[in-house]
């Protein structure tokens, strides 16, 4: 009799736990084609005095790859908690596949022991996709265009916008620049007299100065050379003052001036160069000839006043 009571006392707490804890695993279907999702719901009903150790899906279920995990929900109804977790799983093997029992742990706050409760194993039938071998092969489908995001659209919008803004800035600056008063060029003192008139007057003044007669040959020929060069600059628009005698002769090869006059010019400038750079003292007749040749050159090459007036 004493033994009977002992057995009752020993089993009493276990039977008490069993009444307060209930775990289950349910599938929305147990027959799928390969790769199709199955919705799995895990539920634990337990006493409010207990704590649950929810199973980690990857460790608990090996044969069914997890597609998605949904948020767990927990309700309290009277003295009990009802906790549900939902998952989408699938299978890539065919045949009958067992969803193994999933283990839940339960314990009381402050107590070291944890009790494990297992769900029932479930059987899932996974079939191949039926292929109609009588039909011909279909071509491989091309990639599907993903919708464009705003980041992808950005360059198409921003670059034209920037170009428009840049164009507007350039247009604005151009307009501003155009409106700015332009500096008026300084008036150039153009000689009012023809080149030959100036040159002949200068030669006359030189003759009156009687430089070579006073022994100043260098100054005399320097001035003859300068007057002639000045005349050539004004008359032919040749940079005669910046050219040497030889360069001037080369330039005159391209100017429509009679050969005789070019030779006259060469003679005058050569004598002038000798007087200027080699201290040569030309003979009196050479000095007078220089002036005479210079006048002849001017007379032969001057612009006809009538011709100029007509132009």
């Amino acid at each position: 009799m004493k033994q009977w009571w002992f057995i009752v006392l020993l089993w009493w707490p276990i039977s008490l736990w069993s009444q307060t804890v209930e775990v289950s695993a349910t599938l929305d279907t147990n027959h799928i084609r390969i790769g199709e999702p199955i919705h799995l719901t895990l539920q634990a009903v337990y006493d409010t005095s207990l704590q649950v150790e929810w199973p980690l899906f990857d460790q608990a279920v090996q044969s069914f790859p997890l597609i998605e995990t949904y948020d767990r929900e927990k309700l309290t109804e009277g003295p009990q908690h009802i906790e549900r977790g939902s998952y989408d799983i699938t299978a890539f093997d065919t045949g009958f596949i067992v969803l193994e029992p999933i283990a839940f742990g339960f314990y009381r706050e402050g107590e070291p022991t944890t009790d494990t409760f297992l769900t029932e194993p479930l059987l899932v039938q996974v079939d191949f996709v039926e292929v109609d071998t009588t039909q011909p092969y279909k071509p491989i489908k091309g990639p599907i265009d993903a919708p464009m995001t705003w980041r992808e659209w950005l360059p198409y919008v921003a670059i034209p916008l920037m170009l428009v803004v840049l164009g507007l800035i350039i247009w604005y600056l151009y307009k501003k620049q155009k409106e700015k008063p332009q500096p008026t060029p300084e008036p150039i003192d153009l000689p009012t007299e023809p080149a030959h008139v100036i040159a002949l007057r200068e030669l006359e003044a030189l003759e009156r100065a009687e430089l070579w007669q006073a022994g100043d040959y260098k100054e005399y020929h320097d001035r003859v050379s300068d007057i002639l060069r000045g005349y050539i600059e004004r008359r032919f628009h040749i940079e005669a003052l910046e050219s040497t005698t030889e360069e001037l002769m080369v330039t005159f090869n391209k100017v429509p001036v009679p050969r005789l006059q070019v030779e006259q010019l060469r003679e005058v400038l050569t004598i002038a160069d000798l007087a200027k750079f080699a201290k040569v003292e030309p003979l009196p007749e050479e000095n007078a000839k220089s002036l005479s040749l210079a006048r002849d050159f001017i007379a032969a090459t001057k612009v006809d006043e009538k011709e100029e007036g007509a132009a």
Partner: protein, 333 residues
């Protein structure tokens, strides 16, 4: 300054006509071997007579070596060629002390710089210390080996060449050292007809040999005469105007050139321009300098003495372009 009368200049002119006669002989003799490089030959003579040295720039195969070798033969002077390479040492140029075990002493071994005419081929291929050794010898006209100094034999002319292509792995001469060359001559390809003559001459079975036509003493005498060539004050002013225009272009209404010039010609440029113009007049058998002489030699004297800015480089403007602008603007006396 000594003032010369008109008669003095006339006499000088006559003397120079006589003393410069050997120039024609030289040209005739060298012309046997060299065709179409009259410009280079004229500059070589200017360097020789003005006691200057020449930096020659031109692509390979333009008879640079042959020209100076022929000049050396025509003057019967000692010629030496130094090929500058990256591993050349100063001692390879000037010489060194060699230990003699027989008498347990050091003996001087003179380098190739001990010659009258030196061709420093591709001078920019050697490092700075070798370039300096040669440039020092050029400047001082003497060389120190160990504790002994040796004067270089006159006439002494260095013709250094630079290749305008293949600039990789070269050591460009610094501006200060380039300034020591009296002339920087840029030579170009010969004319078509000249090149035809070159082909024919080179294909002949018998090659012409250059004979001595001038004694070195005549060259040394001519060097002194060159200094006597008359240069009028107007020409001096013209030289000064050109050099000043490279320093202060705005004073000559050349404001556009101001941002293009990094630095202008030094006083050495003025000295060399005057000396080269006198020599050019001598080469042309004249006893006085005319503006044509200045203009003829101006590019060779000034092109390596006018530094251009990055702005000029970006616009592809060269020192020659700047000199042209200056010559076109500065008034000829």
């Amino acid at each position: 300054m000594e003032t010369l009368s008109a008669t003095d200049i006339q006499q000088l002119n006559e003397r120079i006509k006589q003393e410069s006669a050997f120039i024609d002989l030289l040209n005739l003799e060298i012309g046997k071997k060299i065709v179409g490089q009259q410009y280079m030959l004229e500059r070589l003579l200017i360097g020789l007579l003005a006691q200057g040295h020449i930096l020659l720039e031109g692509v390979p195969g333009l008879a640079k070596t042959l020209a100076i070798k022929s000049l050396a033969s025509a003057v019967n002077a000692k010629f030496s060629r130094i090929q500058f390479t990256p591993d050349l040492l100063p001692a390879d140029v000037v010489g060194t002390m060699i230990y003699s075990p027989a008498d347990n002493s050091f003996q001087v071994k003179k380098g190739p710089v001990f010659a009258n005419f030196i061709l420093a081929d591709e001078i920019n291929r050697a490092p700075a210390k070798v370039q300096s050794a040669l440039l020092e010898a050029m400047q001082e006209r003497q060389v120190t080996i160990g504790d002994q100094s040796f004067s270089l034999e006159e006439p002494f002319l260095v013709l250094a060449t630079q290749n305008p292509i293949e600039q990789e792995g070269t050591y460009p001469l610094p501006e200060a050292q380039v300034d020591r060359f009296m002339l920087k001559v840029v030579i170009t390809y010969p004319e078509r007809e000249d090149e035809r003559q070159i082909i024919r001459q080179n294909l002949q079975t018998t090659q012409e040999t250059i004979q001595q036509v001038v004694k070195p003493e005549e060259v040394l005498k001519a060097r002194n005469t060159v200094r006597d060539v008359y240069m009028d004050e107007k020409i001096e002013n013209y030289i000064l105007d050109i050099v000043m225009a490279t320093r202060q272009p705005e004073r000559f209404q050349l404001n556009d050139l101001k941002p293009l010039i990094a630095y202008g010609g030094s006083p050495r440029a003025s000295i060399n321009l005057a000396m080269a113009a006198k020599t050019y007049a001598f080469v042309k058998h004249r006893g006085y300098v005319i503006p044509e002489d200045i203009r003829a030699i101006c590019y060779d004297v000034m092109r390596h003495r006018v530094g251009i800015t990055y702005e000029a480089e970006a616009e592809n403007i060269t020192a020659e372009d700047i000199i042209t602008e200056i010559l076109n603007k500065v008034e000829v006396p």
